[in-house]
């Protein structure tokens, strides 16, 4: 475990070893029965056939609107939802279906940061209790002194300095950014290898967002943690993610390096998402490609390409053909029939 704290020699550490491999992952929720005597049940296709590989030390941004299934994907990876089909491999081990005991051992190494720092901390616990709790749950650091030292270090690493000042405070006495740091400290104290961050900055002010993203970038650098960063805002992760995966209605529609996706987006959905990122300069007011309507409900999926009802470039073929990911470069894939190879 020692290597985790060593400083990375390269600017961005990333090995070729996969820490997480997701194959054909599906998560369907029953959405009520067809009728009183009908045996035909309908399903919400929250996650529908996802393939994703994450290297050790890599940051992937998973981008999409609400209802695209990105949070369900995170909960399924965490084992908080049971996968309907497919496999999840973590550090070479299949963790799709585990007993509670086996799952607990894995939990130490996969941690999660939630969206709403106002809701994800128990208001009756002090910061010390919140950050100590994971150690107690996992029976780590049995001596009080050792436990305290690890808690202080996690708080300092999360940017809460001096850590002693925060130990006896309650969440309501902290600002939103500080609370999110406490959530991160609560995850870090277990020294995880993979961090799933579910919209960790969307509830925060813009000025604070940069701080939290920089903090995560530093942690990845210092501890070689892999991060799956879930967001609806492509702009916020541009400087931080190695790769970007764009998700629409339960599927990944485009995936590539951050540079490829941001500078040469292939899927019309990615292009639209990019066009609506606010540019902080009135002289650069640009033509925005605003998609109308919202992500349709994932019970009755559109035929053919799932995006065609909202796609400004849709053709007749799009109603029939359900495109699969097409390789554009070695690292860049997109699912659209309009892509010319």
């Amino acid at each position: 475990m020692k290597h985790i704290f060593s400083v990375a020699p390269v600017k961005r550490f990333m090995s070729n070893e996969y820490i997480l491999e997701v194959k054909n992952l599906k998560k369907y929720f029953p959405a009520g029965r067809g009728g009183w005597f009908s045996r035909h049940n309908s399903f919400v296709h929250a996650v529908d056939d996802i393939d994703l590989q994450l290297r050790r030390g890599e940051v992937i941004a998973l981008v999409g609107e609400s209802g695209c299934g990105k949070s369900t994907l995170a909960l399924t990876l965490m084992g908080l939802e049971q996968a309907t089909a497919g496999t999840i491999c973590f550090e070479g081990k299949d963790i799709t279906h585990l007993s509670d005991q086996e799952r607990k051992a894995i939990r130490r190494r996969i941690q999660m940061v939630f969206q709403d720092p106002y809701e994800s901390l128990n208001p009756t616990q002090t910061i010390e209790e919140i950050v100590t709790e994971p150690l107690i749950i996992h029976g780590l650091a049995s001596h009080a002194a050792e436990r305290r030292e690890r808690v202080l270090r996690a708080l300092e690493d999360s940017g809460l300095k001096p850590a002693e000042d925060f130990l006896h405070r309650f969440p309501h006495q902290l600002s939103g950014g500080q609370r999110q740091r406490v959530v991160i400290a609560g995850a870090l104290v277990l020294e995880p290898h993979l961090l799933l961050a579910d919209e960790p900055v969307s509830m925060l002010d813009v000025s604070i967002r940069a701080e939290i993203i920089n903090l995560l970038a530093d942690l990845r650098q210092a501890r070689h943690i892999s991060i799956l960063f879930i967001t609806h805002d492509l702009g916020s992760i541009a400087h931080f993610a190695d790769r970007v995966a764009v998700m629409y209605l339960g599927r990944i529609v485009e995936i590539g390096t951050t540079r490829e996706v941001l500078t040469a987006p292939q899927h019309p959905y990615t292009q639209a998402l990019l066009s609506v990122i606010p540019v902080p300069n009135p002289r650069l007011r640009k033509k925005r490609m605003i998609l109308h309507g919202e992500t349709p409900n994932p019970i009755n999926l559109p035929t053919g390409c799932r995006f065609h009802p909202r796609c400004p470039l849709a053709r007749d073929d799009c109603k029939r053909i359900d495109p699969r990911l097409i390789q554009i470069t070695e690292t860049h894939h997109a699912a659209c029939i309009l892509i010319s190879k």
């Binding site: 901390l121 128990n122 609560g186 813009v206 993203i213 606010p278 540019v279 300069n281 009135p282």
Partner: protein, 645 residues
């Protein structure tokens, strides 16, 4: 004044317990209830010392002592056996309280366990436990208690158990619903993600949040148990060796107190029962208020809106937006103070700006910089602790600060309307959206012709891009974006000239955010609306604003037209905010952030409010608050640096 302010202590209590006490002690009735209960507890505990006579001893009692009226020797008179009623009252309190507290403890324990287990585990366990609870609830308590006690030996222990074992049903139901609410909160999910087991979650996360409701409930269960015991004893089923108040009543009734006119033998125990039940009820109400913040006064209730003139430096707002457009709103030197226990927090100080027809003003700053307070002050909707310390707001030639509350109510929806932050959750879930828009119209224009109402609703929905057929749908059938559109339709229902949009897109996805921005932009062009767009996101306002007011710590940091703000900002705060913005054309550049947080409004720094976070701060900044410098006709900056050549 300034010196005094620096010494203000933060009003946030250091522990929840202290915070609880601060709220609780403000409720005089609850404190009275606690005091009343303590008196009885002291009497009961120290009855051996305090009671003038020992009711268990039969010495010195003659037949002439029977039913003696109150006198100096026997303050409450004597009873049928010639014993002192006051002493009996004190010892009786002991028995009544013991039964009350122990029976309630049993009830609360059973009810708490059943409620938490049913609520937390759900499924078949919940169905079984709750149906069992329903069954117990259907059986009338008192007759069952009577039957069981009559069949068993009437000892004190039996009575406690019977009352305790039958009194848990309401507790179980209340606790279950509270558990369901707590279970769905995010910190429980977080604990699961950490690997916590069920019992750990119940003990550390569910129980502490269910506890307040359990405590409130316990107080009410105690009074019920005391009443039940009194009833049992009164009908002769009490423990004959333990003389409770109910037992005293029973003896007095059964042994002819009424026929000899010895009212005192009945009044004393009866008074005791009423006293304790009243004390517990008052205490319960107080606890509920202190533990349940939702019962506190709503933060938007109109409070004191007194205008206190305060001598202040006058800072004129520049008038630079399209001079041909008529001026709608002229805010001059508006200051807002929050007064809490004699402490004054200067939430907004000397803010001035102007708004013209069709103008879109961006009001930008981090959370806690006074943006929402400023908007609430404009509408005179400050919370009760807030007051407008100085300033004028001229709207259509009238000073809003000088209007009566009725006149202001007219201005509020038909002159200036507001779309609240997180307003999507402000829709009533059990009424259709169309109905709610109708209600909003009728509330402000009661004479609106009923026939035209339906058309008006369709017109408003069409204006915000909602098809007419959705008007009969309920809010839960709307998506987040559509709900926000419906809120905008409501804000437009009385044809206001100004719409204040307070963070209308914060909780929305980027695409929906873009849709809402496009809609607001269209509306202002179509209707000539002036819009004040409150946001923490400089990027959002760059797209469409004409003018931008950057606020920091309650004061104007910079106020200029949109191009100046983005391309030639002079205040370091504006410059830093812009740097924090991701620039997609420079992918390798690390985001810069502004370290630290905006100042607490009750602990403002003495000099420039931005000085503690400012990368360019020098000595003068920590001492002296910068004046508002008017650089050009269209550029106001509050920073010492602009003075230097």
């Amino acid at each position: 004044m300034a010196v005094q302010e620096l010494e203000l202590k933060p009003s946030v209590p250091s522990s929840p317990l202290l915070g609880f006490w601060n709220v609780f002690r403000k409720n005089r009735m609850a404190v009275l209830g606690l005091f009343m209960l303590l008196i009885i507890i002291v009497l009961a505990v120290f009855a051996d010392i305090l009671a003038p006579y020992d009711p268990r001893s039969y010495e010195d009692i003659q037949s002439s002592d029977v039913y003696q009226p109150p006198s100096a020797e026997h303050w409450f008179g004597t009873d049928d056996a010639g014993k002192d009623v006051l002493s009996g009252f004190m010892y009786g309190a002991r028995i009544s309280l013991i039964v009350g507290f122990f029976a309630a403890f049993i009830s609360i324990f059973i009810g708490g366990v059943i409620g938490i287990v049913a609520g937390f585990f759900g499924g078949k366990i919940e169905t079984f436990l709750m149906r069992f609870t329903d069954l117990m609830l259907v059986i009338p308590d008192l007759p069952l208690i009577v039957v069981i006690v009559a069949l068993t030996k009437p000892s004190l222990l039996n009575i406690i158990f019977v009352i305790g074992l039958l009194g848990w049903t309401t507790t179980a139901r209340v606790v279950r619903s509270q558990t369901l609410a707590v279970k769905s909160r995010k910190f429980v999910l977080r604990a699961k993600a950490l690997g916590a087991g069920n019992w750990h979650i119940i003990w550390h996360h569910i129980l502490p949040l269910v506890m307040p409701i359990l405590v409130v409930n316990a107080v009410l269960v105690i009074s019920l148990a005391i009443l039940n015991e009194s009833t049992l004893s009164f009908i002769g089923l009490g423990d004959p060796t333990a003389i409770s108040w109910g037992q005293m009543l029973n003896f007095a009734f059964g042994r002819g107190a009424m026929s000899v006119g010895a009212w005192w033998a009945l009044v004393a125990p009866g008074f005791g029962i009423v006293w304790v039940v009243l004390a517990l009820t008052l205490l319960g109400n107080g606890l509920e208020q202190a533990l349940n913040p939702r019962l506190e006064s709503h933060h938007l209730m109109p409070g004191r809106q007194t205008v206190q003139k305060e001598a202040g430096e006058f800072s004129p707002a520049p008038d630079f937006y399209r001079r041909d457009a008529p001026l709608l709103l002229d805010v001059q030197n508006l200051s807002v103070h929050y007064v809490n226990n004699g402490n004054v927090a200067k939430a907004v100080q000397n803010v001035s700006f102007k708004l013209h027809e069709g103008e879109l003003l961006g009001l930008v700053g981090e959370s806690g910089c006074g943006k929402t307070t400023l908007m609430m002050a404009l509408l005179r909707l400050l919370p009760s602790a807030g007051e407008i310390a100085s300033g004028h707001v001229y709207f259509a030639g009238r000073d809003l600060m000088a209007l009566s509350e009725e006149e202001m109510a007219d201005v509020r929806w038909s002159g200036i309307s507001i779309i609240f932050q997180g307003a999507m959750n402000a829709l009533n879930p059990v009424r259709t959206v169309g109905d709610q828009i109708k209600e909003a119209i009728l509330k402000h224009i009661p004479e609106f012709p009923p026939r035209a109402l339906e058309d008006r609703v369709v017109e408003l929905l069409d204006l915000v891009g909602i098809a007419a057929e959705h008007k009969d749908h309920f809010p839960h059938q709307y998506s987040g974006g559509m709900r926000q559109r419906a809120m905008i339709a409501m804000a437009l229902s009385c044809n206001p000239q100004i719409v204040i949009a307070d963070e209308p897109t914060t909780a929305l996805d980027v695409m929906i955010q873009a849709q809402i921005l496009e809609l607001l932009d269209e509306l202002r062009k179509k209707l000539g609306l002036a819009i004040i767009f409150v946001t923490h996101d400089l990027g959002v306002v760059a797209e469409m604003c004409d003018t931008v007011l950057v606020m920091y710590g309650g004061v104007t940091a910079e106020y200029a037209d949109v191009d100046t703000i983005y391309n030639a900002p002079r205040h370091p705060y504006t410059q830093e905010l812009l740097k924090a913005f991701p620039d997609l054309s420079k992918l390798e550049r690390r985001l810069s952030s502004i370290p630290g947080y905006p100042p607490k409004l009750d602990a403002l720094p003495p000099g420039c409010r931005f000085a503690p976070r400012c990368p360019l701060a020098f000595e003068r900044c920590t001492r002296e608050m910068p004046a508002l410098h008017v650089l050009a006709k269209n550029h106001v900056v509050s920073c010492h640096l602009v003075e230097q050549p």
